[in-house]
């Protein structure tokens, strides 16, 4: 099962870890926001594409923006969403 980790500030300290399904990174995120629509505006733009400014890590690897569409999230991977301004 894929783990998806969000900033604690997005949830006011409630749950920050969610589960998702494996697949291409954009599809993993789209499926996640379908299941959790309260986060859609933080992750997906009006054109249904991943927002440019967020950063996404698969396990320990920060995925360059130009490689997002081709990056595969395997089962047991962790996707961490990092806002352009983290913490605080």
């Amino acid at each position: 099962m894929v783990r998806i980790v969000l900033p604690a500030g997005w949830t006011q300290g409630h749950r920050t870890e969610f589960t998702g399904t494996e697949g291409l990174l954009p599809d993993v995120i789209r499926t996640f926001v379908t299941d959790n629509p309260e986060f859609r505006h933080r992750l997906i733009g009006p054109n249904d594409q991943l927002l440019t400014y967020i950063n996404l890590c698969i396990d320990e690897d920060l995925i360059p923006r130009h490689l997002r569409n081709d990056s595969v999230v395997g089962q047991d991977c962790t996707v961490t969403v990092i806002a352009p301004m983290a913490g605080g």
């Binding site: 980790v5 300290g13 920050t16 400014y53 990092i82 301004m85 983290a86 913490g87």
Partner: protein, 289 residues
């Protein structure tokens, strides 16, 4: 390019003692979780050498002089958009940049003495080099804000709404995130999503730090030179902050968007240095003694 203040240097405990997190936890109107502030702890002993720090944030006039002299094009100008917080949250607004802070069609007319915004880490670094200066380190910034002994805000430990450009300065005391959203929605309907910056030094001298630096609390977020790190790997911190460690640069001071709790001297944020900027981000410069 304005005055610089002499900061004598010294050894101090950087960060927040644990009672600060207890206090934040107990504040009725503080909406963020304890783990959000965990990167401020534990305190760590740091020594800073004497240095100079800009008394004021870099202004739009300062930045215009830099652009005129060098032809510099900011990252926001090159990628074609800047980050603006609209009624629904952060948006990538076409044309938003340092001279059009609310997006295409907006301007900075009449606000030359406000801090420049929409500057990325690279933009700030380029300006500093041109000015014969550099960005302050995180330790230098905090020492300049708090002095050798811990204090919550640059002027002391008692919150003074009239001494810093925060959301509370504009809206009055805010009791919840919802109240913040209502204020911001009303502001957007009135003037559009324009940054609510104020002229640098507007809150001087009462709002200055003990070393005479203005706007260290609020107005705009400030880039520092420091790569993000944890004070202690065992600290309980937001998991995404832990992932940003070693990748992001430390941002200090909070901004006009924030509540009082985010403009404290020991408050830390971490910014993506790969070209990102927003309508609430600026900087000031430092110089070796």
């Amino acid at each position: 390019m304005g005055d610089m203040q002499w900061i004598p240097g010294g050894t101090f405990l950087q960060g927040s003692p644990s009672w600060v997190l207890d206090w934040l936890d107990g504040e009725e109107h503080q909406t963020l979780p304890r783990v959000w502030f965990g990167d401020e702890t534990p305190t760590v002993r740091r020594t800073v050498e004497p240095f100079w720090l800009d008394r004021h944030l870099v202004t739009r006039a300062d930045f215009a002089a830099f652009v005129a002299a060098t032809g510099h094009r900011t990252d926001a100008e090159q990628i074609g958009f800047g980050m603006v917080y609209g009624e629904g949250g952060w948006e990538e607004i076409p044309g938003a940049c340092w001279h059009a802070p609310g997006g295409a069609g907006t301007s900075i007319d009449g606000s030359a003495d406000h801090p420049v915004v929409h500057v990325s880490y690279q933009d700030a670094t380029a300006y500093a080099a041109w000015a014969g200066k550099r960005l302050p380190t995180e330790s230098e910034w905090e020492f300049a804000a708090s002095g050798p002994r811990f204090r919550i805000w640059p002027w002391g430990d008692d919150w003074q709404q009239a001494l810093a450009n925060t959301a509370e300065f504009h809206a009055g005391p805010l009791a919840s995130l919802q109240a913040w959203k209502q204020w911001w929605s009303a502001a957007c309907r009135q003037d559009g999503p324009m940054p609510r910056t104020t002229p640098v030094g507007q809150f001087s001298p009462e709002g200055d730090s003990g070393y005479g630096c203005a706007d260290l609390a609020g107005n705009v977020y400030e880039w520092t030179a420091s790569l993000s790190e944890l004070y202690d790997d065992s600290a309980a911190v937001d998991p995404t902050v832990r992932t940003a460690v070693g990748r992001y640069r430390v941002i200090r001071g909070g901004s006009w968007m924030n509540f009082r709790y985010q403009v404290r001297c020991s408050e830390r944020m971490h910014g993506d240095p790969s070209g990102w900027s927003s309508f609430a981000h600026g900087f000031r410069c430092a110089k070796d003694s």
